[in-house]
Symmetry: C2
Subunit: 324 residues, 2 copies
């Protein structure tokens, strides 16, 4: 069995070793840059872990699942253009380091690099692997559209928000868990269970991400705390707060999210004060915990020994451990 950190090293190595056509150098430089920014490589690592649940042989899966990470980074490059975000993980975003056209085009090539990786899947499982990936890629785009539309909506309900992150974030994490299981040779029933495991994990993951923006710190999270508030992002915290706020609090939140000119620190403080008054932190933690528990329930249903599940259980529960 491989542990998470060993798998991350395998993926990092595969990403560094990706060979590009010399003629494509200018196109690929931003691709290499964004892939070198780091990150937990959660999607391919998860896929290798679910593969490893069923099989000791993970080698065939390494290059194909690296495609999941490249696709994820493609979405970051284009989302950063749409959000006009200048920084990510304490580094300049691609469009701010180069320019918007370069970020569009270098982003555009990345899904095809993903498919080049995924096309190294053994032929007997090629079709289900590619169908799972392609479905997830479409879901991510649909989720990003909803996220964009929410910016202009006066009211977003908790259900609408959860559906948006299910598509934008959880679909690819679910697909990763499913693809790993397909590589591991799991049966149809187990493959679908692992999709559900991943879907719940992905929902928990995004809600935690929202939480960390306000209640994490720069060191562990790599971006300025409160960035979502400054960018008027309708996160789970904001939506929950709007739902349970009294008239006065709701008025202040609305004001803060529509005014353009106020000081960023003041804005973060005012919004966070209301979150604190409404106990949003623990309300959000509770929802995230519900999804973590749901994903663990799905994992229980998988017919492999407890020992083989250990690493996945640890990864899942560590999401709930909030050391900040």
């Amino acid at each position: 069995m491989y542990n998470q950190s060993a798998l991350k090293k395998i993926i990092d190595k595969a990403l560094v070793n990706l060979a590009y056509n010399a003629e494509a150098e200018k196109l690929m430089e931003p691709v290499r840059y964004v892939l070198s920014m780091g990150g937990k490589r959660i999607r391919p690592v998860l896929a290798l872990m679910t593969c490893n649940l069923f099989s000791d042989k993970i080698d065939d899966a390494v290059i194909p699942v690296t495609g999941l990470e490249i696709f994820h980074n493609f979405t970051l490059v284009h989302d950063d253009i749409m959000d006009q975000a200048l920084m990510r993980r304490n580094m300049q975003t691609v469009h701010s380091k180069w320019n918007v056209n370069q970020a569009i085009l270098s982003g555009d090539v990345m899904p095809f690099i993903s498919y080049e990786c995924l096309l190294q899947t053994p032929s007997q499982i090629l079709s289900p692997v590619l169908k799972t990936f392609t479905r997830a890629a479409m879901d991510v785009c649909i989720g990003q559209q909803m996220d964009m539309d929410f910016e202009k909506s006066a009211v977003v309900t908790q259900d609408e928000y959860l559906r948006m992150i299910e598509l934008k974030t959880a679909a690819l994490i679910a697909a990763s868990a499913k693809i790993g299981a397909i590589f591991g040779g799991a049966e149809e029933r187990e493959i679908e269970i692992l999709y559900e495991f991943g879907r719940n994990l992905g929902l928990a993951f995004q809600i935690q991400d929202d939480l960390l923006d306000v209640y994490g710190d720069v060191k562990t999270f790599g971006k300025i705390s409160g960035g979502d508030i400054v960018a008027d992002k309708k996160t789970f915290l904001f939506i929950k707060a709007m739902e349970i706020a009294n008239t006065e609090q709701r008025k202040i939140l609305k004001e803060q999210y529509t005014q353009q000119t106020q000081n960023a620190e003041d804005k973060i403080r005012i919004v966070t004060d209301i979150y604190n008054q409404l106990n949003i932190k623990s309300l959000t933690e509770n929802i995230a915990d519900d999804y973590i528990n749901a994903s663990l329930k799905f994992l229980e249903k998988v017919s492999v020994s407890q020992e083989r599940k250990e690493e996945l259980i640890q990864m899942t529960t560590s999401l709930a451990g909030r050391n900040h």
Copy 2:
């Protein structure tokens, strides 16, 4: 045997009948819009024709090759953003009708719709079909990068230009011809011949496109004549003219392509005058004809009856017939 116009109808119908998730409506509206703009559907039609060379049964190929058209339209949506083009085929471009973010995102989903179509390929030929498509998609992106870089280059040679259009335009047309042959059950040798046929056809096609911008008319071409000149596009005509111009003519061409403020009609007239002095029209037609003849030579090598080749020959030679 199917003729070109019957095949175009089959593709148009497949494009109209594409079913989208209701939840994705806002994302798909611009996709439907761009696909409804029309066009010759040259790539999927060509694929069905090369399939039909070898087989009377083309049904299995229809949905998969429709993916080629959707991919091509994706490149138009994103290229129009990068070029800041407001009109295409006498209609507003996606980013000018909606906005840049919407055009990025609706463009982003289109390759995945392409793959959804292509994933309906029968499993025994799935891998070669997807590999051919994915390689071409990467080539198109590399070609677009070169095209962008040429905008900033003082000098672009004819060879550099031909390599750029080989990647940006010919690679997908070549892949279309190859994919059709794979669907038709052609042997490896014939499949590669059809790739070369398509590559030469694609080169001729792009050079003709450059020619039509200056020497075509609005009705047959659907865009304002001279648009490439106004946009300072380094077309085959411009590059050839720069190569053979005398010092004075080269100075004028350079001036016209760097000045920002002059009147568009004056600019078109001044540049076209030099093209006429240098006989650029027939020089360009000769090069296009060379590629058309090369593609016909490859077609001759294909081991099927002359009768089966008739429609492809007609399509190829009609490219050379310049009725304007």
